[in-house]
Amino acid sequence: MKHLVPEFEKLRERFPAGFESSLALPCLRRIQEDRGYVADSDIEELAVFLGVPQIQIEEVLSFYTQFRRKPIGRWHLQFCHNVSCSMNGAENVLAHVERRLGIKPGQTTPDGRYTLSTVECLGSCGTAPMMMVNDGYHENLTLAKLDELLQGLK
C-alpha cells in the first residue's frame, strides 16, 4: 500500500478535515485495483494512515461484496442473476459456463485463469442475460457467444 500514499494524500485534500474515515472507501478501491484484492497488511497500514480503528476499515470491506480479501483468477466472470437476466435464461448460460470450467460460483479454476461469481443487477436489463468479464460488459448472451468468448480468454 505504501507506494499509493501520495495518491491518498491527494484524495485527502478533497475531504473536509475530520472525515478521515470517509476516505476508507476510495482508498480501498485503489488498493484493490492495484493488488487485485485487499490484503490484511493493507487494512493495518490504511488504519494507521487514516488514524481510524481497524474495525472501521473492516466494516467498509465486509459491507461491500465487491471487495475481495483473497486473490482471484485472471478473468473474473460475474453473472447477473437478478430478475431480468433470470427470466431471459441466465441460469442456462451460467450452468453452461459451470460445466465448461468445472467450477461453481465463488470458485476459481485450479490453473488460476477463471473466477466465477453471481452478482445482483448490473444495470443492463435491456440486454439480458449479461455478465461482466473483469471491467467489460458482455450482453445478450447465448451459449454460442459464450463458447466463442471463452476461447478468447487465455
Binding site: 480503528p53 481497524q54 474495525i55 473492516e58
Partner: protein, 476 residues
C-alpha cells in the same frame, strides 16, 4: 420557540429539539430501541415512528421540531406500522426468553406484549448466528438475539472512546464484532453496553444465569470506588423470594450492580470497578470484638476502649475516608476534642487500575475524602513523641507505622491479621448495611441505603463513636 402539537396538546418546544425529546419531556411515550439520550441518532430501528399531519410517517428521534406541526404518537396508522416493524425486528430473533438473562427487563419483550403480540408470519427458517461469542473477559455476545440497534458500537465510539466494536457484513448476516487492535477488555467502561443493550444480546459473564431479574430488587447506593461517588443500584434477592433450602448467604449476596441515572454525578454510566463491588464488600467479615486477639462481648470491648481513651494523654485518631458524612460529623462532635485527628487513606490504587480520566474515574480511590478533609484537615498522619494511644478507623494502614508503645483501638469490617494485634478490636458495619451520605470531589452529596442486616456482634460506626464518647460505666 416553535409551538408544536403532540396528540393535540400544544407544546412550546426549543428550536434545537427533536420530536422525540419534546414528547418525552411532556409525558408522551414513544417506543424506541436504537435511540439513547446520551448517544448520537442513527434512526435504524424505526420503532419511534410517529404520524405528522400532511407529512405521513417518520421517525421521531431524527425529526426536528417545526412550527405548528401536528404529531400523533399513537394513531391507527402508527399502531399498524409499529406492529409491522416488530414483526420485522423479531424476524430472526430466537425468542428464547425462557433462558435469556434479559427477560423481565427486555425492551423487545415489553414492546412485543404492548404493541404486537403476533406470532411470526415468516415461513423461512430463522438465520442462525454465533451464540456466546467471547467479546471480552466480562461480556458475552449472542448474535441471534441482537437487533443491530448499534447502541453498543456508538457507546464505544462516542462515550468510552475505546472504538472496540463495529459491524461486519450486512443485511441479516451482519454481526457486532470486536477488533483485535482495540480490545474491549481494556475499556474500563465496557459493561455499560450490557445495560444499554435493549435485548439480551450482550450478557454479563458475572451475572450469566445467576438469577431471574424479577427475584431481585435494587437498593440505591453510592459506589465507593473513587472520589466521583457514582450513584448505583445494588441488586439483591427480594425478601419475599428468599431462598430457604440453599446456602443462606445467597440471600445476602450482591447479585449485580447497575448505574442509577444521575445527571449531577455520573449520568447513566458507571465504570467496571463499580460493577465489581461484590468483590470488595463480600470479603470475609470480622464479626466479633476482640481484646488482643481474644474474642469478647461488645460491652466488654467498649469498656476497655473507654478505659484506654480515659487513661491516654496524647491520643491520636486516624479517621476513615470511607466513613459517611454522618459518621464523620459524629466523630468530630463527640471525639474531635479527645483525639488529635488525621484523615487516613483507606484504599490505594490497585495495580492495572486506570488512574484517572475525563469521563468518570478519579485518582482518589476513596469515596469521602472531601468531607473527611473538611472536618479533619489535610495533614498526613504524624505521631509526635508521647503518642500513647491510636484509634485506627478502617483498613489500609500499615500497623508498622504506628508508634511502638502506643495502645491501639481498631475499627474494621473485614477479617485481617491486624485485627488480632490491636488492644481493642471492634467490628463495624459496611456500606451495604447502613444509611449514609458521601460527599464527592465536586461537593455533591449522594445517599446510600442499606440492603442487608448486619450481624449482632457488628456495630454501626456512628453508634460505636457515641458509645466510646459516653462516660465509662462506673465512672460517671
Amino acid at each position: 420557540m416553535p409551538e408544536i402539537f403532540i396528540n393535540g396538546q400544544a407544546i412550546e418546544a426549543r428550536d434545537d429539539q427533536t420530536v422525540m425529546e419534546v414528547a418525552r419531556e411532556h409525558g408522551h411515550f414513544i417506543p424506541y430501541f436504537c435511540w439513547h439520550p446520551q448517544l448520537s441518532v442513527v434512526g435504524n430501528c424505526r420503532m419511534c415512528l410517529v404520524e405528522v399531519e400532511g407529512r405521513g410517517l417518520d421517525i421521531a428521534c431524527n425529526m426536528p421540531v417545526a412550527k405548528g406541526m401536528q404529531v400523533f404518537t399513537n394513531s391507527e396508522e402508527v399502531q399498524a406500522h409499529r406492529k409491522a416493524i416488530l414483526q420485522f425486528i423479531t424476524l430472526n430473533h430466537p425468542v428464547d426468553c425462557g433462558i435469556c438473562d434479559k427477560a423481565g427487563e427486555c425492551v423487545l419483550q415489553d414492546y412485543h406484549y404492548e404493541y404486537s403480540g403476533q406470532r411470526s408470519l415468516s415461513h423461512d427458517e430463522k438465520v442462525r448466528s454465533t451464540k456466546f461469542y467471547n467479546l471480552s473477559n466480562r461480556i458475552l455476545l449472542d448474535n441471534e438475539r441482537c437487533i443491530l440497534c448499534l447502541r453498543c458500537t456508538r457507546f464505544t465510539h462516542e462515550v468510552s472512546k475505546s472504538m472496540a466494536l463495529g459491524v461486519e457484513r450486512r443485511g441479516d448476516v451482519s454481526n457486532i464484532r470486536p477488533v483485535e487492535d482495540r480490545p474491549l477488555s481494556e475499556d474500563p467502561y465496557s459493561d455499560n453496553i450490557i445495560d444499554i443493550c435493549p435485548v439480551g444480546a450482550l450478557l454479563s459473564r458475572q451475572f450469566l444465569h445467576k438469577s431471574r431479574v424479577w427475584f431481585l430488587q435494587p437498593t440505591p447506593s453510592v459506589c465507593p470506588g473513587c472520589a466521583r461517588g457514582c450513584t448505583v443500584q445494588i441488586w439483591h434477592r427480594k425478601p419475599e423470594w428468599k431462598l430457604k433450602a440453599l446456602d443462606q448467604r445467597q440471600n445476602e449476596n450482591i447479585a449485580r450492580v447497575t448505574p442509577l441515572d444521575n445527571p449531577a454525578v455520573n449520568g447513566p454510566w458507571i465504570c467496571n470497578k463499580g460493577r465489581d463491588l461484590a468483590q470488595m464488600f463480600e470479603r470475609v467479615r470480622a464479626d466479633e470484638p476482640m481484646l488482643k486477639g481474644r474474642p469478647v462481648t461488645v460491652p466488654a470491648a467498649l469498656d476497655e476502649a473507654r478505659r484506654l481513651i480515659g487513661a491516654a494523654r496524647h491520643p491520636v485518631a486516624l479517621v476513615s475516608n470511607w466513613g459517611s458524612n454522618e459518621e464523620l460529623e459524629t466523630f468530630k462532635d463527640k471525639l474531635g476534642e479527645v483525639f488529635h485527628c488525621f484523615v487516613k487513606q483507606d484504599w490505594q490504587r490497585q495495580p492495572g487500575e486506570r488512574i484517572e480520566d475525563d469521563l468518570l474515574i478519579r485518582g482518589d480511590k476513596n469515596p469521602n475524602t472531601t468531607r473527611a478533609r473538611e472536618l479533619f484537615g489535610h495533614a498526613e498522619p504524624d505521631f509526635k513523641d508521647g503518642t500513647d494511644l491510636v484509634l485506627v478507623w478502617g483498613e489500609g494502614f500499615d500497623f508498622a507505622r504506628l508508634p511502638p508503645r502506643a495502645g491501639i483501638i481498631f475499627l474494621n469490617s473485614y477479617l485481617q491479621p491486624e485485627n488480632g494485634h490491636a488492644d481493642v478490636f471492634l467490628p463495624v458495619s459496611i456500606q451495604t448495611e447502613r444509611h449514609g451520605h458521601y460527599t464527592n470531589f465536586e461537593g455533591t452529596i449522594s445517599a446510600f441505603e442499606p440492603c442487608f442486616e448486619k450481624k449482632p456482634g457488628v456495630l454501626h460506626a456512628e453508634d460505636l463513636i457515641k458509645a466510646l464518647a459516653a462516660p465509662a460505666r462506673g465512672h460517671p
